[in-house]
């Protein structure tokens, strides 16, 4: 794991205004400059922004209804009226893709939000306090990690019942132990730093020390991991929806679109081609962004 940084100033914009004020602006700007120089990373950020824009603006970008069937336009090949063709119920594929971006992005961001919200505090507690807390938290994380990510997500989604919300919960819980491990390792190394010792010496409480000194300094690798995990979560949501365990029809999601499209692959290949490309592009964007953030925030790893 990464060695602790010798300065209390995080390289990334820290969440608490206090830590922000402590960070010399020059150092933060260096991370940003390094990020901007990395063409792949900028491309990733642009892709992510485009996907976000598509998800937000979906209803205004297309004249068609994403759910309403239209039996006069069943399985039409791509044309000027329907750029990406129509599906087995005559719905415009492009419109459904734009609306599907909402499900995918939401699934990616919410499930990683769940994983971070559960994993980071547990990891901080385990790393900072050590001892019994560490033992219990680490064993639970190990147990969850010993079930392969997608199998655990499928099992949870199966027992919770199919829906987008349950899929997000299942993916979030399955991704959580990664954040526990990462945060724990980082917290252990930050704990040994002089400034944490100093904070303890002047009598600050554990809570304040964790929030003010430990958290801001463990954040950069967590941000990197979060970005890469969003990519993984988008694929996981598409996988669950493809299996019928995520977004339920008729609401569009890229995975559920592929689930129906696979039965029409010889008659209407466009139904399969475009949702797959959408997943690929969105996931590639988050992977590029994550790689770029890692190079910018943690130069030792590159």
């Amino acid at each position: 794991m990464a060695t602790p940084s010798t300065s209390p100033a995080p390289l990334a914009p820290a969440p608490s205004p206090r830590a922000d004020a402590e960070a010399p602006p020059r150092r933060r700007r260096r991370g940003l400059v390094r990020f901007m120089r990395n063409r792949a990373a900028v491309a990733g950020a642009v892709i992510v922004l485009i996907v976000i824009a598509a998800a937000i603006l979906a209803p205004w970008l297309s004249p068609y209804d994403p759910v309403q069937a239209s039996f006069l336009t069943v399985r039409q090949a791509p044309s000027a009226a329907h750029w990406f063709g129509t599906d087995e119920l005559g719905r415009d594929v492009l419109t459904r893709l734009l609306c599907g971006a909402r499900a995918s992005l939401l699934a990616g961001v919410v499930s990683v939000g769940i994983a971070v919200a559960l994993g980071v505090p547990l990891g901080l507690a385990a790393g900072y306090f050590g001892g019994l807390v560490d033992g219990v938290v680490s064993r639970i994380a190990d147990a969850l990690l010993s079930i392969p990510f997608l199998i655990l997500a499928i099992a949870l989604a199966a027992f919770l019942g199919p829906s987008l919300t349950n899929a997000m919960a299942a993916i979030g819980i399955s991704a959580m132990p990664r954040f526990v491990r990462l945060t724990r390792g980082q917290a252990i190394s930050v704990k040994a730093e002089d400034y944490v010792e100093g904070a303890r010496a002047i009598g600050l409480g554990h809570y304040l020390i964790i929030v003010r000194y430990v958290l801001p300094n463990v954040l950069p690798p967590i941000i990197v991991q979060a970005s890469l995990t969003v990519a993984m979560a988008i694929i996981a949501e598409a996988s669950l929806s493809f299996l019928g365990l995520g977004q339920l029809p008729p609401a569009p999601s890229w995975g559920s679109m592929l689930n129906t499209a696979k039965d029409f692959v010889s008659q209407a290949p466009w139904m399969s081609i475009f949702p797959g490309i959408a997943i690929f592009v969105a996931v590639l964007g988050f992977n590029l962004l994550g790689d770029g953030l890692r190079d910018a925030l943690d130069p030792r790893e590159s």
């Binding site: 499928i154 099992a155 598409a238 992977n287």
Partner: protein, 314 residues
Amino acid sequence: MLRVIANRLLVAVPTLILVSMLIFGLQKLLPGDPVLAMAGEEQDAQMIATLRAKYHLDEPVPVQYALWVRDVAHGNLGVSLRTDVPVASLIAQKLPVTIQLAVMAMVFALGIGIPAGIVSAAHRGSALDYGANVVALSGMSIPNFWLGIMLIFLVSVRWHLLPSSGYVPPTDDFWLSIKTMLMPAFVLGAALGAQLMRHTRSAMLSVLRADYIRTARAKGLLRGAVIVRHAFRNALVPIVTVLALLFGELLGGAVLTEQVFTIPGFGKLVVDAVFNRDYAVVQGVVLVTALSFLIVNLAADVLYILLNPRLRRS
């Protein structure tokens, strides 16, 4: 060394216990009362009580857990609610199919990922390195079930080169079996190969910076020999650990691949069980998966010690 290995085994015990509790707990997530569902329309009190006693559902939860563990330890994973076949024999029947798929996928992943990683690291910064990285990142970003659908469309529907689905046991017709499994194995192996390439590359890069590599080059050894004999042998240590972790992804990916290519394996079994609400099967599959994943990672830990002379001596 034996003590280190014994230590690893000991640490695995609490993990195993927690995993079993977790999997046992899954069924408690289910809404509703399974006995009421089983009893059917009549809701006969006598029958409900018999069913409860039969499945030990009248006992407290810790007792239920202990009874379940006793059964599992005896290889009894319960009975499929759907087909009345013991879950253990269902799994034993499907496992060879998935093992064939996994082994062939691993051949693809290793055959593509490791050479590409070595070449990429040896030519760091070149167009070749750049190209290999682009391909690897794309491979990681493509959902494998979509890659499968696209290959079926091109290779089977358009070009009629390979069968699009199904399974032939190797004992029936060896070559046809390999041929049928070729496309699914490639689909499953591609993403793993991409990750393996990235890990091999970074492991090689950090080894190539070491002093003993410079020494080997300085004493006039050929570049190729240094890369393969000196660098790769040392880079292999972290790669083994990564491989064990990728095994989990292999199992998860197999579920989707089997679904796309309608291969009657382990993954198809679990998906069908999910839709038939056959929870005993789901539980059994998750348990066997977790167990094999734990064993593979333990084996990797041991191998790690064996491969690393510094740890071996201690």
